[in-house]
Symmetry: C2
Subunit: 177 residues, 2 copies
């Protein structure tokens, strides 16, 4: 059975996961962020199988998250580096690293420290904020159909709010007919 692709789903998260949600992919991106460029360095640092690495790099390049740059002009041998689109993903990587530090490793066991170069201080915790900078908890965030919403999505949103701070579905059982 084919593994489902979300490429045609009207959902940013599904679309994103279609590009970076596979095993290894986010680790490859972190590795690239750390400065790794060469195939064999990705391979040895991550311990990933070569065929899988090859497939993932190809996919990341195809999606313009990594760029293949020839080592020397005209050379067949190339390096991989983050594109702007890929660099923009580092926010997600850092958010996830911080989550892991908080909930899995424990802050006192964080293996890597991320600091503000200007001050040497730890960077802030990545969090959701209002335009004016005020941190927002889940209860402060409202969800609405966006400009690209289709009927299916619009149907899923009502004004009602659950205690998670998100929306509640309309009961659809009775609408099937």
């Amino acid at each position: 059975m084919k593994r489902i692709s979300f490429a045609d789903t009207r959902c940013s998260l599904a679309q994103s996961l279609d590009m970076i949600g596979e095993w290894w992919t986010l680790l490859i991106i972190r590795e690239a962020y750390f400065g790794t460029r060469r195939f064999s360095d990705f391979q040895s640092h991550l311990g990933i199988a070569r065929n899988v690495l090859s497939e993932r790099l190809d996919r990341l390049v195809a999606n313009d998250i990594l760029q293949r740059v020839p080592v020397s002009p005209g050379s067949k041998r190339a390096h991989y580096r983050l594109s702007e689109k890929g660099r923009d993903l580092v926010t997600v990587v850092i958010a996830l690293v911080q989550w892991g530090d908080r909930w899995v490793m424990g802050p006192e066991n964080a293996p890597v420290r991320m600091v503000d170069r200007a001050t040497g201080e730890d960077i802030d915790t990545v969090q959701v904020r209002a335009k004016n900078g005020r941190p927002l908890g889940l209860h402060d965030i409202g969800l609405e159909p966006g400009p690209g919403a289709d009927d299916a999505i619009r149907e899923r949103f009502s004004e009602a709010v659950t205690d998670t701070g998100a929306v509640r579905w309309r009961i659809r059982r009775h609408m099937a007919a």
Copy 2:
């Protein structure tokens, strides 16, 4: 061949991915954030296979990202809801949704709008910041061994900085001996 688990790797990202990096898992979390509680609603909203959903939910509960709450006291039938650990993951989900809106769907096609309940305004873009609130680009972020760093990690960091803003590995080829 067993699929590799990162559970024992000294790396917050790998550890995090070991919990939420599998196919469907992050979509299940988003679905829970949207208010879905019941097995069959997860199933029908996501179109995931039931056995896979079952396995994922078990794993999320085992990792205390979701909580199983009996529908009525003593009932075997239960609902799933985000734990605090799970709610803290929503930051990551939102960061990824925003990335998808920017780079995949295009902002004008964003299917969902996230707003500040207090003002009705769009929420801000999730980004990395210094403690004082200043937004940090990749070049402004420095990486160092953290309190839980082991030798392998410490060895990987030098002060040198690449143009991605991260660190550069020492050449290890000559150190093998």
